[in-house]
């Protein structure tokens, strides 16, 4: 066979991975595909750190009086777990990794509208991450990721300023990425690619980008004011001097609620792509699903007050926010019905990406439904501040968003790396993750209903069984996450070489080799078909 020993793939043509070598070609790249991989490595790093903090928390909570750390340290653990997982893993994850990689490919362009800005976004993200890591090493932060004032601004003596600077800086990465995507999708679509021929993943990314662009600046100014408060103690958020802590909360949640839609919408887009491919059917109600993405983005900005039902907000404002929160559930539910209708009478196969997508639908539905209890004022009074909330958002963020991210990685991995991973191991780890996840978080619904508060380093003894179950589940979940890390890395060297379209999927990204050449397409394609034209494909490729 081959005698050359230096290059792992002797026979593969020039693609974006082997186009250039050396650290400079990576750190100074403007190729959106390489930037996507830079993000992939970085967010995996932060995921491990955030996951490690979660692991310590669950270990601590196996005993009612706490098994591991002092309460002050416990406060720092849940704060940094939240900050890292939200700002440095979930928010970038699908947009910065899969979005960066796929948006130009899916629209038939050679790159994003602003490639250098794209690279700058990554560097900004890294600098923000470094500030946050510094704050963790230099003593940590104990305010909760929500940084509620006046504790964070006036009373806490932890590294609030450092982490505020880190989050502030990283926010601009998000803003610039969103801006880049919006301009790209508007201005650089291939000939014939009308809005209603776009894959639904792009509708989801577009809606997400609207949120990133309009919401994140408000977080930036809020964090900026918080840092000024912490440094100068002027008092706009402190009741002693006439300020209002709720002003901080309004400003904070105006971004942070839509932020959860930044985390879930791209995952929904991934699920649409996977369901269509592995049911060999076009998505039922394409336009409705597309519009629902935009509706979620818009309505998501109108509901932030539901985080403030019990903090002193006016009851009448609470009523308005409660009503609007019920409304925002509707487009999400519409999507679930549409995916289910797509599955009906589809020709379904259960490879790993499909397992993640199906898991998403079930777990996201549970998470979303439990949100309805929280949207009603009366039940929220009982459930707010308990483990019910923790379980609710983990069902959506982990059961939903992370499963969507993993499903997307498994779906597009052959395109990204030019290699296939072992499907048996992939299906096994999907099952382990599903089991581990439910074992971790379902008991937390019960704990919350029974009244166990969140963010507490100790709890009444009668809650121990459920807590131990949850911690056991967390270990299983952790193992489930480790396995893909291993086989993905393994596949890059030893996995079977992937062809251009191993799944027989529709979409422009599958029309170019795996991995794609740096310029994406030898010739810019012309689009003549609707998205998900599977019935014709089905006959052609499944002979």
């Amino acid at each position: 066979m081959s005698t050359a020993t230096l290059e792992p793939r002797v026979q593969s043509p020039r693609n974006y991975l082997n186009a250039d070598y050396g650290w400079k070609s990576w750190l100074f790249t403007v190729d959106h595909k390489r930037i996507a991989l830079l993000y992939m490595a970085s967010i995996t790093f932060f995921f491990v750190i955030g996951g490690f903090f979660a692991f310590l928390m669950r270990l601590h909570l196996i005993e009612p009086q706490g098994a591991l750390v002092q309460p002050e340290t416990y406060n720092k653990l849940f704060t940094l777990h939240g900050v890292i997982m939200i700002f440095f893993f979930l928010i970038p994850s699908i947009p910065a990794v899969l979005g960066n990689f796929l948006v130009p490919l899916m629209i038939g362009a050679r790159d994003l509208a602003f490639p250098k800005l794209n690279l700058l976004s990554w560097y900004i993200y890294i600098v923000g991450g470094l500030f946050t890591l510094y704050s963790a090493i230099a003593g940590g932060v104990d305010t909760g990721w929500t940084f509620y004032t006046p504790y964070s601004s006036t009373y806490s003596n932890t590294q609030v300023t450092a982490v505020a600077v880190g989050v502030f800086i990283t926010g601009f990465s998000s803003i610039l990425t969103g801006l880049n995507f919006i301009v790209t999708i508007h201005k650089m679509r291939a000939p014939g690619l009308t809005w209603f021929r776009l894959p639904l993943f792009l509708w989801a990314i577009y809606a997400t980008s609207i949120i990133m662009t309009l919401g994140t600046p408000v977080l930036a100014i809020t964090i900026f004011l918080l840092a000024l408060e912490h440094l100068f103690h002027v008092g706009i958020f402190s009741p002693q001097l006439g300020g209002d802590p709720l002003l901080f909360q309004h400003l904070f949640w105006f971004y942070s609620h839509p932020a959860v839609y930044i985390m879930i919408l791209p995952a929904m887009g991934v699920v649409s792509e996977i369901i269509a491919c592995f049911a060999r059917k076009r998505i039922f109600g394409y336009k409705i699903v597309g519009f629902s993405s935009v509706a979620i983005a818009v309505l998501g900005f109108l509901v932030w007050g539901h985080h403030m039902f019990v903090t002193g907000q006016s009851v009448y404002a609470g009523l308005i926010f409660s009503f609007l929160s019920f409304l925002v559930a509707i487009p999400s539910a519409i999507k679930v019905f549409n995916w289910t209708s797509t599955l009906y009478k589809g020709s379904i196969s259960y490879e790993a990406p499909m397992l993640y997508a199906l898991g998403f639908i079930g777990l996201f539905t549970m998470g979303g439904l439990t949100g309805m209890f929280l949207a009603s004022l009366a039940t929220d009074v009982h459930l707010n501040g308990t483990y019910f909330i923790v379980a609710h958002f983990h069902y959506i963020m982990v059961g939903g968003a992370v499963m969507g991210y993993l499903g997307g990685l498994h779906f597009w991995w052959p395109k990204i790396s030019g290699r296939k991973y072992p499907n048996g191991w992939a299906m096994l780890s999907a099952a382990i993750i599903f089991i581990g996840f439910n074992l971790t978080f379902f008991p937390q619904f019960i704990l919350g209903y029974l009244g166990m508060p969140r963010r507490y380093a100790f709890y009444p003894a009668e809650f121990q069984v459920l807590n131990v179950m949850s911690s056991a589940g967390a270990s299983i979940l952790g193992i489930g996450y480790l396995i893909p890390l291993v086989y993905f890395i393994w596949s890059m060297r030893y996995g079977p070489v992937a062809e251009a379209n191993p799944w027989g999927a529709t979409g422009l990204e599958w029309q170019t080799p795996s991995p794609p050449p740096t310029e994406n397409f030898a010739e810019i394609p012309v689009v003549t078909e609707e998205a998900y034209a599977y019935s014709a494909e089905e006959e052609a490729s499944r002979a």
Binding site: K187, M188, P217, I221, L241
Partner: protein, 229 residues
């Protein structure tokens, strides 16, 4: 920014991801507009803080506003509007390919921006002289104290915090704008801009006008509250 292609004059400044200069110009201007929309939300948070605190403590805002120098505020408004005029004329000069006028108007814009910042610096200096800088030097006395006391000194401190935060953030944006103008002037003098490639001038122009619009609102909201009768 983009790498120039040597072959065709039409391709000067065309970046590899775009099909032609028209698409690139469209993308660049749409991009800066989106960025300005993010700036609306960024400053918007401060305007919300202003709205809330003014709703709660109107008397303090009234007193605080009286302490500001309305003449300097008005002069600064006129200066900044003038700089917007010269900026608009710069873009026009680029559109018509008039290099000397382009350099002249960009320079005038920069000079007017500098005048604005100079007056602002003097105003800040005045605040220190009158000891009405929150936390750093807060000890109002004499006539200033008489103006601020009726609304409550704590609440007046909140007003001045907003004053410094809003005008400070605005000034920071002005300084960035000055840097961008300097960069533009250098490129303009080298003849980088033609009637078919002048997007950087237009982009900086749009940014500059936005910063002007923020001041158009800051002036009445901070300097003209209540009335001086």
């Amino acid at each position: 920014m983009p790498e120039p292609h040597a072959e065709h004059a039409e391709h000067i400044g065309l970046a590899h991801q775009f099909e032609d200069l028209s698409q690139q110009h469209d993308a660049d201007t749409f991009g800066i507009w989106l960025f300005l929309v993010t700036e609306i939300m960024f400053f918007g948070g401060l305007f919300l803080g202003y709205a809330v605190l003014r709703w709660l403590y109107f008397a303090a805002f009234d007193g605080g506003s009286h302490v500001l120098d309305i003449r300097l505020g008005a002069i600064n408004t006129v200066v900044l509007l003038g700089s917007s005029l010269t900026m608009a004329l710069s873009v026009r000069s680029a559109q018509t390919g008039n290099r000397r006028a382009l350099v002249l108007f960009l320079t005038l814009t920069m000079i007017l921006g500098g005048v604005f910042l100079g007056i602002k610096a003097y105003e800040y200096h005045q605040k220190f002289a009158e000891h009405i800088v929150p936390t750093l030097d807060w000890a109002p006395e004499g006539e200033v104290l008489a103006r601020l006391a009726p609304g409550g000194l704590n609440h007046a401190e909140l007003y001045f915090f907003l004053y410094f935060a809003m005008t400070g953030l605005h000034a920071l944006h002005m300084i960035i704008g000055m840097g961008l103008l300097f960069w533009l002037i250098r490129r303009a003098r080298r003849g980088s801009f033609t009637p078919s490639y002048f997007a950087p001038v237009e982009v900086v122009g749009l940014y500059w006008h936005f910063v002007d619009i923020v001041w158009i609102f800051l002036f009445p909201l901070l300097y003209l509250i209540g009335g001086r009768y």
